[in-house]
Structure formats: C-alpha cells, structure tokens
Symmetry: D2
Subunit: 480 residues, 4 copies
C-alpha cells in the first residue's frame, strides 16, 4: 500500500502534465479573454449580472491582458487558469463569469476566433505568393523553356506559362480557404456543456460582439464538432502538396545538371565540411514539412473517428495539430514568396534547352496534318520513325520517312521547306499555341492581366473580412 | 545475357500489368466515349475533320458503346484501347480522332466527368440520410434521453436534439461537397499534352457540349493538377468520420448494457457458433471502412507530394483511390440511411436513464444562481458537496450544504421546495433550455422545420445541377 | 530593389527560424557532447590530434556539459553551436574537432544514441505495465465476466483471461522494440558527409566507445537512412493501438450503463459546470494521443519517400516526430500503468452479467454434441430455436426444440438434467474451457506463472543492454 | 410503411454486398481448405469425429479444391460458403466440421497461413533484387560518379558505393520481414470464438499439421489481434520508401539534363502525341505506388484503433489492405529487379561529372590538415575562399588564399604540387577513402563479397522456412 501510495503520489504531477493542454493554449489566451468579455457584456445586458459586477470582472480581465499569459497560475487548461486568476483578483464575484456557459462551448469559441485570425493572415500571404508568381510570369512571357512530362523534355513552352500553372493552383487553394472560412467563422458560444442553458442568455448578441457571421446552432453539435478543424487541415495539406511541387522544381532546377536557376544566398546554405556547396535548404524543408502537415491531418481525422457525442477529452488532442500546421504552412508560404521572388533564372540555358531533344516533334506531326491532311496517327508514326535517329530532319528525310511509313511524300502534298523550319523552331512553335490557356505570349499576357485583377479582388475580399472582425473586436474591447 | 534476356522476356506481361490502369478505367469507359464525341463534334465544326469522317468515327464509337467495355482489346489504358478499336472499325480515318489532344487532357476530362456523376449521386443520398435523421427527430422532440460528455451522463436532453446534431454535421458535409463540385465541374479538354495545341480548336465549345461550368484554363495546370481529387477525398474522409460517430453510438446503444435501441435484423447478423447473438455488423463496418477512406486520402496526398510539373505517371495511381472511396462512402451512406430509419429506440429505458446519476445537478446549481443571486461558482460548490453522497436532495439537505460551503441557506433566500422539484425533474429541466439550438421541444421543433426547408432547397440544387449536366450529355449523344 | 532588399532583410530572422532544428536538438545535446568526446579520443589515439589538443578541447566540452544547453549561442543546429562554443573557449584548436567527420554522420549518431536511451526506458515501462496486468490477472482467475464479440455478450470468461490478452499484446510490442533495438544501436560515425574520409580514423573504436553493437557500414547508407526511425515510429504506433484498445474498455466499463469498474480519482477529472461528473480523461487522452502517434509515423514515411541519396535537408524534419512520439508513448504507458493498477472492478456486477443474455448458449450446443453425438450445426440450430424466446430452458423445452428442428429428443439420447444445469452455469462453463490459452482458472493460472517468468527474463535483457551502454559511456566520460 | 418496406427490401442485396468479404477471401480460399483439413484430422485423432465421418468430409473438401473457388455458392464469407458446400455434398455429417471452433479463429488462422506464403515469396524476391544491386556494384567498383548531398555535387564516389547503399537498405528490410515472420507463423486455431472450447481439442496438433512454429496462446488475444498485420504493413511501407528512393534516382538520372543512365525499352513507354518521348513509367509507378502502400498501413492502424476486445467486424476491413499491399509490393520488387538489372549507365558522363563543381574541395581541405597540421576549420575556410571563384586552384593561388585567411603559405609548410594534384583528382580522392564503408575500390570490393555471402545465408534461411512449411502442408494433404 505504502509503495503503491508512494508511486501514485509521484505520478501526480505526471498525470497533470499528461492531461494538460496549457502548451497549445497559448494560441487561445487572448481569444479567451475576448470571449469572456463578450459573454460578460451579454450577461450584463440581459440582467444576469449587475453593472458593478461586470466592471469588476472586466477590470480583472484587462489587468490580466496587460500582464500577459505569464501572469496565470497552474491549471489543467487556460480557461480554468483565467477563471481562478479573475476570482483571485476580483473576489467571489469572479465566480459569476461562468454563468450560463461551460468550458466546452468556451474552448470551441476560442479555437474558432484564433483560427479566423490565422486564416486571414494565411490568405493574405497566399495572395502575396500568387502575386509574386504572376508578376514574374508577366516579365517572362517570351522566355522559352523546355516543358516536361515524366520529367522528360516534351514540348517547348514559356516560363510565364509554367509559373502561371503554379499560380492557378494556389488560387484554388485560396478558394478552398475562403469556403472553409464560412464554416469556421460561426459562434458556438451559449451551447454550454452541450445542452444549452436555462439562463436567458442571448447567443445572437455574443455572436455579433465577437464578429462571427452566424451561430453554430445545435448546442450538442456546437461542442462536439471539429469538422471545421479537419477541413482546414485538409486544405492546408493540399496547399502544402502544391508548394512541395514548386519546391521540388527549385531543387531540381538548381542542380548543376539542370542549372536552370540559382537560389539567392539567403535561401540557401553551405556545408560544414564541403566549402564549395550551395544547398537549397529552404526548398528542401518546404518539401519535408509537407509530410508533417499531412501527418497532422491524419492525426486529427483518426482522433475524431468513432467518438460518440458530445464532448470527449480526445478532442483536446486535435487542436495542437491545427496550430502546429497553420504556423508551419504560413512560414512555408512566406519563405516561398521570398525564395521565388529572388530566384535568378538562367534564361539563356533555358532557351537553348527548349528546343533540345526533338521537343518540337509534336508540332512537326501537327503541321503535317494541317498542311497535307493526313490523319494525326499517321503523322505521329512518320515523325516517330524520324525520332529514332534524327532530331533535326531535312525535307528530304521527311519525305523518305513518309514513303517508308505510309507511301506518301509530304513535299508533294504542299508541305514546304518553310513549313518544316517553322515546325522545328521552338519560338514559332510556342507562338502557334494561342488557344485559351496556351503558352503563346499574347495568351499568357492576357492570363497575367486577368489573374492580377482576380488577385486585387481576392485581397479586397480578405481585407473586408478582416475589417469586419477587427471592428467588432475593437468595439468589444471598448465596452466598459 | 541469354539468361537475362530470358528473364526479361518472361517479365514482359508482368510489366504490362504493373503499368496498366485498365481495372480502374472501367469507371471512365462511358465518360471517354462522350469526351471523344464532344471533341469530334468540335473538330468537325472547326473544319478540322470532314463531316463524313465525323460520321464514320462517331458510328464506330456508338457501336462500341452498344457493345460495352468487353468489346475492347488489350492496351495499357482505356484511351489507347478505344482509339485502337475505332481505327480497327473505321479504318485509317479513326486516326483523326486524336487531332489536337493528348491522353493527358483526355484522362483529366474523363475523371472529372465521371466524378461529377458520383458527386451528384452522393449528394442525393446524403440529403436522404439527413432527411431520415430530421424526420425521426421531428417525432421525438419530447423523448427524454441522457446527454453524454466523456460518455458519462451529463445532463438530460432529447432524442430530437441528439439526432439533429448528427443531421447538422451531415449538412456541413453536403456544403463541402457542393463547394468541391464547383472546382470539379471544369473542363481541361484542349490542354493536349500540357502545352495546348497549334490546331484551331475551340475549348469553350467542348466545355459546353460536356456540360462543364467553365474551363480549367492554364493548359499546364489542367493536366498536372489533381487537387480536385484530393479535395473530394478529404471531404469524403470527414464525412466518414461523421458517419463513424453515428455508427459508434449505434453499436454502444445496442449493447445489453446500454439497451437504448435495437437494430433491425436486416442490418445485424448472427454468429457461426453462438446462436443467441445479434451483432451490429453494418455499423461496425461503417466504422471500419472509415479507416479505409482515410487511408485513400493519405495515399493520394502522398502520391502527389513533390511531383514536378506537368504530367507524371504517378498520377495514374491516384485515381483508383478516388473510385474506391467514393463507392465505399456512397454504400455507407445508403446503409446508414436504411439502418437509422429502421432503428427501434427503447424510449422507456432512455427516459428512465435521462434523470439517473444526478444529471440534473447543473440545473440545480443554475436555479440556485437564478433564485438566490449567489455566484455560479459558489452554487457549483454547494451542489458538488451534495453530489458526493446524494443524488436527490431535500431542501433541508440543500440548506445544510449551503451552510457548510458558503454559510448561506437557499431556503432563506427565496429558493422554494417547488424550485427544487423543478430543478430535479429532467423534463422541466429540458423545457427550460429553449435558447437557440437548445433541447426544449419548441426549439427542436423549430429546428426540424427549418432543416426540412433547407433540405428541400438542397435537393432542388442537386436536381438543377444534374439536369444541366444530363441535358448537355443528352444533346451531345444526339449530334450526328 | 530597395523595397525588395528591405523585405528580404526582414525575412532574414524568419529564414533562420524556418531552417533551424534547435528546438528538437535539445533531445541530442548530451548525446552530441558524448559523440564529440568519442571522436576526439579516437583522433588522439590515431595520432590525428595531439594529447594537449585533446585535453584542451575536452575541457571545453566538460565545461559546456556542466553549464548545460543554455550556454550555447545561436546557430542553425546544435552541432554548429557546440563547435562555435568550443572554439570560443578553446581557441583555434577547437577547429580540429571536426577533423574527419561531418554534421551528416554526427547527427545520425546522436539520434541513435539518444533513441537507444529512450527505447531502454520505454521497454522498462512496458514491462512494468505488462507486469501490472499479469499481476491483476493472477488475482482474478476466478472472477467471472461476460466475454464480448461485436461488443455483445458472447460467452462467459474471466477477468484474468481478459487481462492476459492485453498483456500478451504488449509482450509482442516489447518484442518488436527489441528487434528494432538491434537495428538502432549501430554506429554511423566515421561516414563523414557520406563518402567517409581520407583521414586514418578508426570507426570500430568510436563504435565501442559509444557502446554501439556494430557499424552501420556503408558510409552513404549511414547518413541517408532513417529507416530505423520509421521502424521505431511504426512499433510505437502499433503499441499505441494496443493501448487505445485498453483505454476504450476503461471508458466503456466505467460508464453508468456498464458500471463494471471505477477509475481512481487521480486518473479522472470533473466538470466546470456539472458537479456530479467523474470523467475518464486519462483514458480518453491515451485513446486520442494514438491518433497523434499515427500521424507522426505517416509524416516521417511521407518525408522520406522518394528522396534521392544521400543526405537531404528534409531528413531534419523527420526527427521531431520521433521525439514527440517517443515522449508521448512513454507518458501513455506510465499513465496506463498507474490507471490499471488502481482500477476498482465491480466484481459482483461482472459476475452477475457473465451469465446474462444466454451467453451460455454455445456451451449448451457443445454439450449436446458431446452427450448425444449430433452434429454441431444441428445442435446450433436447436439452441438457436430456443434463444429466440427463452434464455434459461428446461430439459422439456430442450426436447421440444429438438423435436421441432431435427426430430430428436436429447433427454432420450443421454442428455440429463445435470448436463443441462452444468451447461447453463457460467462457472462450470468456464471451468470446462481448459485447453491451452482458455479461461479455465488452472490454465490462466499457468499462463500467469509463465508470463511472470518471461517478464523476469525481459527485464534482465533490458538491464543487460542498459548496463552495457552505461558502462561504455561511463568509461568514455572518464577518459581524459 | 409500405414505402419503407419496399425500400428495405431493395436494400437487401446491397446489405449483403456491404458486409461481404468474398472479394478479399479469394486470397484465403486454399488456406481455408487446409485449415479445415487440419482441424478434421485432429477431431478424428481425438475421437471427436469418427473415421468414416472424417473420410466423407475430407472427400468433399478435396472435390471442392479440385473444382476451385468458383464452385462455391453465395455466403457472406468464404468460411460459411465452404461449410455450406460441404454439407450440400457430404450431408448432415458436414455439420461436424465446425465442432470446437468458430469463424473467428478460423479466419485468423487462414490469414496467417496465406500471409506466410506471401512473405516467403517476397523475401525471395527481395533477396534477388539485393543480389542484382550487389552484382552490378561488383562490376563498378572503379566507376567514378558524383556523390550528392542536397542533390548538389558534394564529393566524388563510385557507382559501387552508391548501389551498395541501396542494397544495404534492402537487407534491413529483409531483416524486418524475418522478424515479423516469427510473429506471423503462429497458430490461433482452437481459440474458437475467443473463449476456447469445452471440446477436448489438441491445439498443438493442428499447429504442427499446418507447419506453424507455435501457438498464439491466449484464446481471446488469438482472435482479437491484428498487430501481425499492422507490423507487416509497416515493414512493407518502409520497404516501399526505400524502393521509391531508387525509383526517384532512376527518373532523375534518365532525364536529358542528368543523362547518367538509360532505362531499357521494356521498362519505359512513349507518348500518344509526342513521338520522341521515352518515359520512365515503371519507376514513376513504383514511386507512386509507395503512397498506396502507406495509405494501406494508415487504414489498418486507424481501423484497429480503440476496438474493444475481442472480435469486432471492423477487423474484416483490415485484411484487404494487407493483400493489396503485399501484392503491389511484390510486383514493385520484381519490376525494380528487371529495371535495375537492365539499366545502361553512361559511365563516361558519370566519370566526367565526378570531378565537376569542385567536388574535391573537401579532400583539398583534408589534405591541407594532414600535410601542414593546421586545424580543419582553418583549412575549410581557406578552401572556401578559393571556392567562391575558382574550382581548380594552382599552388600559388592556394598560398594566396592561405595568406589571406590565416597568414600561412601551405607550400612553405610541406604542401607540394603533387599533394595538390592528388587532392584535385577524383580518382585518387576516392582511393584514399578506404575506411570501413568507404568508396575505395578495395573496400567496396570487400563489401560486395561479404554481402554476397550474407545473401547466400538469407536465401538458405528462406528456403529452410519454406521447406518446413511445405513439408507440413504436403503431409497434411496426404492424410486420408
């Protein structure tokens, strides 16, 4: 007994550490003070606490805000620690703060409030990175580069076309975050433990005071659901996958074999042993951190799986993954913005490589179809015959291959030496590809202009959301 | 060398199997025929093929459609197999079908077309399951049940409140699918291999013919991106997590210990050795299959991570996860609909349990606050003192606890025997909780009505989308 | 330019934070000092540095060890910071420490050294938890409980049988960790950047000095591989899945519906609003943290996927998942040990439930087969007929069912009233199941004894490993 | 009601499909027949069935084996279908086959039996791939290549060194599979539903008959545990990560930028539109399928998480992930063996690149340390100064840098023109690195010989296991 008693005593502090959420709670310390304040304003307006009581408690909260999180004492979570601190400063009356609510609705509200702020920041940064890509695209509509499939040279394209492809993927990431924002910015406050409360609280008022767009209505759903966290983690994962593809290309293109670009020193590092090295560490870490974000998503999904309603303590383990991932993703987006904006492209090597490896073969086949009217599959076979041995055929060689494969002579069917030269020239090749979304300079120029406009709208949208939220919180802070 | 040659020869068929996508391609066989047709109509209208050529090729496609997928020969993918089949039937001219396109844009278009159909079906089924939950809620606004936190009795609530919480989660799943639909129903056709084409194709026309809502514009992005697949898989995962929570409760509530409900025989099974058993197999499998869907998501994310642009063969490995998950999720939604609609709740046991375990303690504390004006935290301590030994206190015992904890006597501060009786009665307890989202019968009744209306709108929205798509495809099939 | 310069300047600190590994490096600070020391001893013995140089540098390391990690300055990783610190204290000569090695082999060695320590600790704790289970099993070989399949009562069994099932799973976890230990406790030191070195270093000596069991030989493999981390993370995940199953049962069995056990107060918590609550928070968190460990595994696997040889910076992102998981798992094992050892089983309710729900039906069928010789499937059908309406049949009712199903009367075939009573009695039921691994008290008693012996061997094995490692490090610390 | 009835009727077939395991059961059809037979032999030997009964039932099983799986009728799983088939052919007596067992122990036994076979096959194939790598290494101990860190040229090494690094990783994969095999090849048979049985069965006999190495003793553990599946899936995932790293290098090295190797046509494919393309499709698919295997692992872990004992239907959902992954991994190993053995390395380009980019800088610094006695960090700085502008310094330039950085002239401290030439020569560079595990030809030659020996032992070990298992099953098949 004594032994067991001794052991359990020793475990005591360990149990507290095991169940504590204090480390992750730093993310919601300020949010919690705001939620407390909104709840108190409502209690006062509904006559559930008196004006003097309100003033006393709010005073204690203001003092705590000024002193910062370090002023808190122990406690298994930030909510308990704040309430204890308020009672210590304001006296018994501090105990009225928890009227008509529970930690269950409180924590759900705090997470949403803090996450809203993070999403707005991320959306701004993502817009900035997309703008950087579009901006560099705008300056490179005429820069030829090899286009790849299977990492093999396929057809020539332009740097603008390539950078815009990345920008469009990020714009979809941004759309997904906007969609998620609508489901995040809702108020669970007033759900109490899960069954709402018999006090005559006003959920709509606290919703407005905190700048939420509406209620998360059903009180059981309000405290049990973390699908908004899962959704954000999913969108963050997809965004990181998109970033990792850019990172991979930066790594590849800066090898001495590719030598298509050089990373700015600020985003590279050297070796402790090999003095000549310049390593693309930031891009490698963006690629690596993608795995960390994916793991955070799967953690959260697995934790939530098969939990009965309503609140279960497992949910506490979900949130740290959210904060860790959101912070990591924002860092990665900002780093990529700096890295991409300072890349030095080796345009002469890119242009020279654009036509290498018979990457104009497709256009050669296409031009045969257009000029001679033979089916595409036949043209493909004629060019395939040439490709085996020759990457720069003469008209005579083309005729010979035509004879060989299909008993035709292109030159006799209207295919001229000029047609051939044009087909084999990467620049005229690209110029021809002017259909919507294609790499022709005029078309990528049009896309650049259109994306810049779209980005201006996106920025305005984020700004509007941010202002709505800030105005509400500013007004809330001023209520005394 | 001879040996090696022999070995490699033997591997041959194995290589084909390893790289083949034919098994998963069943999902896009019909979509591919439609994409071929739309492309051909456009080629004809743009003068890129002749009317007779069009007629011949479309005839071959129609014949193939009539005969079905079995009519196809070998080939590493369905696109190649169809083209080969068309050339075999229509002759050389069949080779014109591939003018101005590539398998890269073709497969991306087919996946989106087939996925659109699946999403519409899933949204319909999800609406049906949500309707079943709301419907059963509507009939149980007065059915008391114990409400749980940490799987411990917490406060009384109603079956309606509980079922509506599940319904609201599913309605958010539905919203997410609607958001994803906007990014799925876009046309990559005309992107060709990734660099668009020099042929004067009309991307807008094929977009319209196939019932898409717009272009996936940048041609490099169009063939490289699978974020629409990742997004759908993420939403499916979250949806399954929500279903798994319902499944878990069905399993728990049908144990002999809970005995809160009975599953219909159709959704249960028995044992090969224990003749008395009735097992909730369908619910267990919904719970289990949640893991399978989560794994599909993580597979797809991991496959796409760090792939350079544009198309890489890895992408072929993404799609089977999509089809497997979408099919599994639709099955789970339908099974849950059948299972939930046929559950027999043991309402007498539920009601009896609703008040057990002093689950009215919170209301007792709240009523003390309301009637006597003491702070909530003080009331909580008084009731906590009682809870240790007694779950049904008299007014005298309440006074004694008040004296003990805070030197007050509630009965002297206006707290009556009637107040006490009301606080301890689960039914009046629930009736009091009439704030928005609360379990009071009037409030859940309001929510039921509002959700039914919302469901009618959702159904109309899905129907509209389906009709737009069907009309386009119907018109396309009739073009000759 | 100015603007850009300004922006990049501002990013500077951010870049450092983004690429820094300092937070996770706390886990290897002491290991690094030991690795430095072993390397220096070897350099001295091989004549690559002089005895005085050795003394000076080792003096600086000892001082740093005494002062602790806080004494380090900035630096993107702990290796760089320690070297800088040594040079600052020992002067230029400190620059000799990095002779014939690189951060690449250094970090790999540090991780293995620190992980070895963690594995030994975890194995000890796991043995302790298994011993707790076996110990409680030993005291409950006669405690009847209901045995479950599909969470439905299936057949009676004993608490010992049930607890031993959990213990055996943990013993396999322990075996897996032992297997992994053999692949962890190997020395990569001397691999340098990946190509080994031209200095005449002695890899075997540093291996021995650090208490490793052998070399991780190929120098490119030595710095590129993290499969030992993946393997440990996989075993930790499986272990957590096993713990989560115990946690789930603790949660279920402590509901008021099951009421099969009570958690000690130390491992439970109460509610901020519901004073009567006693929640199984520690068990819920063990269950929840399982998801976190699974996510750590998937992160690490995804990060390592498709990395070309040799070292890539992505690998830095792997290690934090290892430390986070190992720390979390050790905490969970210790918490479960405390929680399980202090559980109070409600044995009277367990015994009473053991026979409820006709859980003896299988034995009734089996006894019919044994006594009358009818096929099992026939007996199963006769008992199934009874089960529909009756859970405690008389011999007459059994005969009636026999007639009905198969035109036989068991009583006429030697089946007596005593046979029936024995079959329906859960205790004699269990006593009969004495085959190896079965629940009969004698058999579980035998298993308890055997597992205790096995545990003693396991403990001895861990102790031996720990002593070998400690002796080596102790000796190393004393070399001057 | 009528509507509901109609709907449920319609769902009927769907329920059966939803709960059926028949698709995955193909993997255990033959195993099940063997398990049935072993159980029957034991029942006969223990006098639990008569010799004639045994003969009749075994006859039916033999007939079924001859006809194959197609001969089975409907049934939610293969066990039920086989029993039904046996009763249909052998009559009532067939019902005796299920005496003293349950589907729960039966399926666990079948999975282990079938998995054992798969593991043996995989281990053989993995040994073959490792042998191919070692074999090619043996022929390339003198082939210089650039060694990479961060995908940047770091130091010269040899192709042998690089290939052996991959081989060693695979040898660890093989070790892990061997460890897992010990936990897989155990017999759960006789555990029955989970509580063992009252029949006097002989678990040791069925264990021996089926060639298992021992019992999975505790009968509750025996039917509840799937950690052996999780472990195998984890090892398969790690193995695929290792393969994906080889695949990534094959893809990179076959780009036109690297041009270090060419894939054999058999393992490449071309484009539907770009006739010049040769794409490394098999390597891309190995890389992609890695994601699928990772997802299978996470699925299985998530499914098993938090399942209470003993059997739950969720477990049925685990097995398909096992079969899918094991089959996919075996395919990938075989494909990689063919692909690697037929790679054509461009050794002249590799050798030429080996010294490019000042990759000898480390050796230059090291040689300065060895010849002049200056600290490594100083030498590193001198060489770093040169590296900024010059990748092939003269002795005069080296002196100038020495003066500049540390006021020393290496030529005055014994550093000769010959020393410099040797340091800058990649071949002598590599020759110097002869420490254990280094790239020097003698050392890689030693490693090749040692690995070949190790592989011979591994092959013998697998062969022995296979023979033990085969002998047992052969003997079992012959018992009549």
């Amino acid at each position: 007994m004594l032994l067991r008693g001794g052991r359990l005593g020793a475990i005591d502090r360990e149990v507290l550490e095991f169940i504590s959420s204090r480390e992750a709670d730093s993310w919601i310390f300020e949010a919690d003070l705001l939620v407390d304040r909104a709840h108190l304003v409502m209690l006062k307006d509904r006559g559930l606490i008196k004006a003097e009581e309100f003033a006393t408690i709010v005073g204690a909260l203001d003092q705590l805000f000024a002193e910062g999180e370090e002023a808190l004492g122990e406690g298994e979570d930030v909510h308990e620690a704040i309430e204890a601190c308020v009672i210590a400063r304001a006296g018994q009356v501090g105990g009225r703060m928890h009227t008509g609510r529970s930690r269950n609705d409180e924590v759900a509200t705090c997470i949403r409030l803090a996450l809203r702020e993070q999403l707005l920041g991320l959306m701004e940064e993502l817009n900035m990175l997309a703008a950087t890509l579009v901006d560099r695209a705008g300056k490179n509509t005429d820069t030829l580069i090899p286009g790849f499939t299977h990492l093999q040279h396929a057809q020539p394209t332009t740097l603008a076309h390539h950078l815009l492809a990345h920008a469009d993927a990020l714009l979809r990431d941004q759309s997904r975050l906007e969609d998620a924002y609508r489901r995040v910015n809702l108020s669970p406050l007033g759900a109490a433990a899960f069954a709402s409360t018999g006090f005559e609280i006003d959920r709509d008022q606290t919703c407005r005071l905190l700048g939420f767009d509406g209620l998360l209505e059903n009180s059981m759903d309000a405290v049990s659901s973390r699908d908004f966290v899962l959704e954000v983690l999913a969108h963050l994962s997809i965004l990181m996958v998109n970033l990792s593809r850019m990172a991979e290309e930066i790594i590849l293109w800066s090898t001495s074999e590719f030598a298509y670009l050089e990373i700015d020193d600020l985003f590279a590092s050297t070796s402790s042993i090999m003095p000549q090295k310049k390593n693309p560490d930031t891009a490698e870490l963006v690629r690596g951190k993608t795995g960390s974000v994916l793991g955070g998503l799967i953690s959260a999904l697995t934790i939530c799986k098969a939990l009965p309603l309503s609140y279960n303590r497992d949910l506490q383990e979900v949130t740290p993954h959210l904060w860790r991932s959101v912070s990591l993703v924002r860092g990665a987006v900002r780093i990529m913005d700096g890295c991409v904006s300072s890349l030095r492209f080796n345009t002469s090597r890119l242009e020279e490589s654009a036509g290498a490896g018979f990457s104009t073969a497709t256009e050669l086949a296409d031009s045969l179809v257009r000029k001679t009217g033979i089916p595409f599959r036949t043209a493909h076979q004629i060019v395939g015959r040439i490709a085996a041995t020759n990457t720069s055929p003469t008209l005579e060689e083309l005729d010979a291959a035509g004879e060989d494969v299909a008993r035709i002579r292109p030159s006799a069917m209207g295919y001229s030496r000029d047609d051939l030269a044009r087909a084999l020239n990467p620049r005229s090749n690209v110029a021809l590809r002017s259909r919507p979304g294609g790499p022709a300079p005029a078309e990528t120029g049009r896309m650049v202009a259109q994306r810049l406009e779209m980005l201006a709208q996106r920025r305005a949208g984020v700004r509007e959301r941010r202002e709505k939220a800030s105005r509400a919180l500013q007004a809330l802070r001023e209520i005394r």
